[in-house]
Symmetry: C2
Subunit: 457 residues, 2 copies
């Protein structure tokens, strides 16, 4: 078979592939909100049918949460597992979207056509790059290039509560030679990337409680403790004046970059001014003595992702609320222990509480960071294959995001993972007006065809 023929077929089939992606994007599979449970189920059904159309033996697999989709196709050569997730982030604030987030369309922009919808990039568009590469391969050759297991999750955006039990229960079925994960981005518009370093994540929600009910700030203001005041002190104390996180023991297990990696990253000439400038910022806000790439790839963080308490509607209400809330996430690196940090964080919060004030915690996930082994023989051929598709050679990079599945493949199934993705930094992941460039989609499909070819030669 000829790679060129597969690539030509991909080019010819792009309009139909785009239509298929738009159909998947119309399904409102927001996993974190129970109101969209049926939509998540529908997205799983859609994927099962689509895989079946490729001759894959696919099924929806129940979990206590949203279902998994697992599919198998036999073949010679390496056994590859491909992972993606069909669930998407919530869409609020809805008023900032320029159109319905679940009414996708291809829009012309000065930088070329984009597919606009929630999930266009994260992760439905990325997931479909691999599926479409397989479809073209199958159409051209009558078969897929090797033995492939497809594994699609529906809870990635809500902490993957069912993932580890499912992997453990189905370990034999899911273990392959290597896992391919498509949930990352290009390094820049011209440079593809294989991500070898992923931050872990720890999520905490806290509720600070003072009085047993909301109070009138005229009657009680001054004499009754205000939980928002306490929460503000807690949050304000999480960083020191140099940008370091103050939670005791937080930096245990945070490695310094090797000289080799530092040199490689320096060669990337990361343009942090434009990275920040694109979102209206100019000054890196992390630890003062770190480079911007370190801040997002190799340094741990603490961020408040949500805060609420008291009256938040129009107008003014002079209430002293009974409770105040915050959602906080820590991005972890190296061998930082999420459980130890959770304990230390909770101890810190408790140490901030005055008399009469209590706190309740709710934990969301606790995933250590992971580092890929590029010694695995799939990496270098894949890097070369990507380099053939894009203007510049592919780079091994870090990633500020957390993709715990990569670590789980290693620790639960003993399998290395290779992360290749085609997202761009302006895709507005998790934000209003998310998009996926048609170039990402098209060249992403072609890239997977090249990688499959390289790994099965």
């Amino acid at each position: 078979m000829s790679l060129d023929a597969v690539l030509s077929r991909i080019d010819a089939d792009l309009p139909a592939a785009t239509d298929r992606l738009l159909n998947l994007l119309r399904i409102k599979s927001i996993s974190t909100d129970p109101a969209y449970k049926a939509d998540c189920d529908a997205a799983a059904d859609w994927l099962v049918e689509d895989l079946k159309s490729l001759g894959v033996d696919a099924a929806k697999r129940p979990t206590p949460g949203h279902p998994m989709v697992v599919g198998h196709v036999a073949g010679d050569g390496p056994h590859l597992l491909f992972y993606g997730h069909y669930d998407v982030q919530p869409v609020d604030p809805l008023n900032l979207w320029h159109r319905d987030p679940f009414d996708p369309e291809v829009q012309d922009t000065p930088k070329g056509p984009v597919i606009r919808a929630r999930g266009a990039s994260d992760d439905k568009g990325q997931l479909m790059t691999f599926v479409e590469a397989c479809r073209a391969w199958k159409a051209e050759t009558g078969t897929l290039p090797c033995r492939i297991t497809f594994f699609f999750e529906g809870e990635e955006e809500s902490g993957s509560p069912s993932l580890i039990p499912f992997m453990k229960e189905n370990a034999a079925e899911l273990t392959a030679d290597v896992a391919l994960i498509c949930d990352t981005g290009l390094f820049d518009e011209q440079t593809p990337a294989i991500t070898t370093m992923l931050r872990g994540m720890l999520g905490e929600e806290l509720t600070i409680k003072a009085a047993t009910r909301d109070l009138h700030s005229g009657m009680y203001g001054g004499v009754a403790m205000n939980p928002i005041r306490v929460l503000s002190k807690v949050l304000a104390g999480l960083h020191d004046e140099t940008g370091r996180v103050t939670v005791p023991g937080f930096y245990d297990g945070v490695p310094e970059l090797s000289n080799q990696i530092a040199a490689q990253w320096a060669d990337l000439n990361f343009d942090h001014e434009s990275f920040l400038g694109n979102v209206g910022l100019s000054v890196p806000a992390g630890e003062q003595d770190r480079t911007p790439l370190e801040m997002i790839w190799s340094r741990p963080t603490c961020e408040v992702n949500g805060i609420w308490g008291g009256y938040t509607g129009d107008g003014f209400k002079t209430v002293l609320p009974a409770e105040a809330h915050a959602k906080i996430s820590f991005r972890l690196v190296g061998t930082q222990d999420p459980h130890a940090i959770r304990e230390s964080f909770r101890d810190y919060v408790k140490s901030c509480l005055p008399e009469d004030v209590e706190v309740e915690f709710k934990g969301y996930g606790a995933s250590p960071a992971s580092q890929m082994s590029i010694e695995n023989p799939v990496f270098e051929p894949s890097r070369k294959a990507l380099s053939d598709e894009w203007p510049k050679p592919a780079a091994y990079v870090g990633c500020g995001g957390s993709i715990p599945i990569a670590g789980h493949f290693k620790t639960i199934l003993g399998m290395d993972a290779m992360l290749i993705g085609f997202g761009k930094e302006d895709d507005q992941l998790h934000s209003p007006n998310e998009k996926y460039d048609m170039e990402s989609f098209h060249k992403g499909i072609r890239s997977w065809a090249r990688v499959l070819d390289a790994l099965t030669k």
Copy 2:
């Protein structure tokens, strides 16, 4: 005429008076939320009709906001103006109400029957105590006891934007010998009170802005400034470790209590342990060197009444929000200048902002504190009249809340105001499950009859 006959009629008419109040409470006159504009209008109409039934020449008077209700009845003796407000606070969090806040009912409780509804105490129930006293007087004697002007506002809970212009435009019509205001409470269950000291109020809403859009905390966490982090620093810095407000110049114009008032307040034997204990607290949270009564009556405060930013729904969303918001109120005393404090507060906030971060402010009200002159000859007869109705003698007290109208009567119309009210500390003003004791309502009506008698003898 005989006061006893009026009091007997009040007793006999209590069930009908209660029904009338329940009808008024059914009207959802939330002034701060534009969705309830028609309801505010309906409450004004209801009051006009009710006053007309007493022979009062009453009318709804338009303003750029919600209408005023003004009514006049001629008579001999002093010319009294009675003020109340027909608008109510919002009802959120609705899930904490045990029944629909606008479906009022009389409930039996271990401490006696209560009228349960939003506005039952603040201020519809209080307002109707005076109206019902007039109704009984009229029924018994065929006339009202003196010349009375009724003046009801519909924007008290939303900063009274139309009040000052309306008072200035109708100054001649609204000027009386003294204003009676029923929007305060008893000192305790047995001790009626005339409030002679009211805190002023300044409201500020701030929006802290960093990036131009919400960001993914994986991609940007660490390198992009988080506005919630900035907001937390701003709010955490508003109080020092002794509980004092740190805004520069904030304590300019804050007087020390006179020895006389301090002694009088000490005699009240304020039970702060039970005041706080009733809402689940035990430790006074204000300035460390002040008594609890000072904290709520004569010391200024700064409270955060609402805070919001980022993802606040179920589950977890790793967003770095573009904006974070807070609503803050200052209670003012003595001659503190709300406009100077607003400027100083805004300067303080701006001084906290790092690079790339901006702030927008929205002001809500700016009312100085007010102090009543008890030299006015209406005070001492009224205090004696109240003392006849209740188990213990009436006291001159302070009030932590802000009733700017009292100051406006003085500064705009040159008229002293006397604040008498019958609320109890557990009325849950501005909170879920607001109530007004039937005792407050019944003895409140009787109290006004006694005051009217005392002032017209």
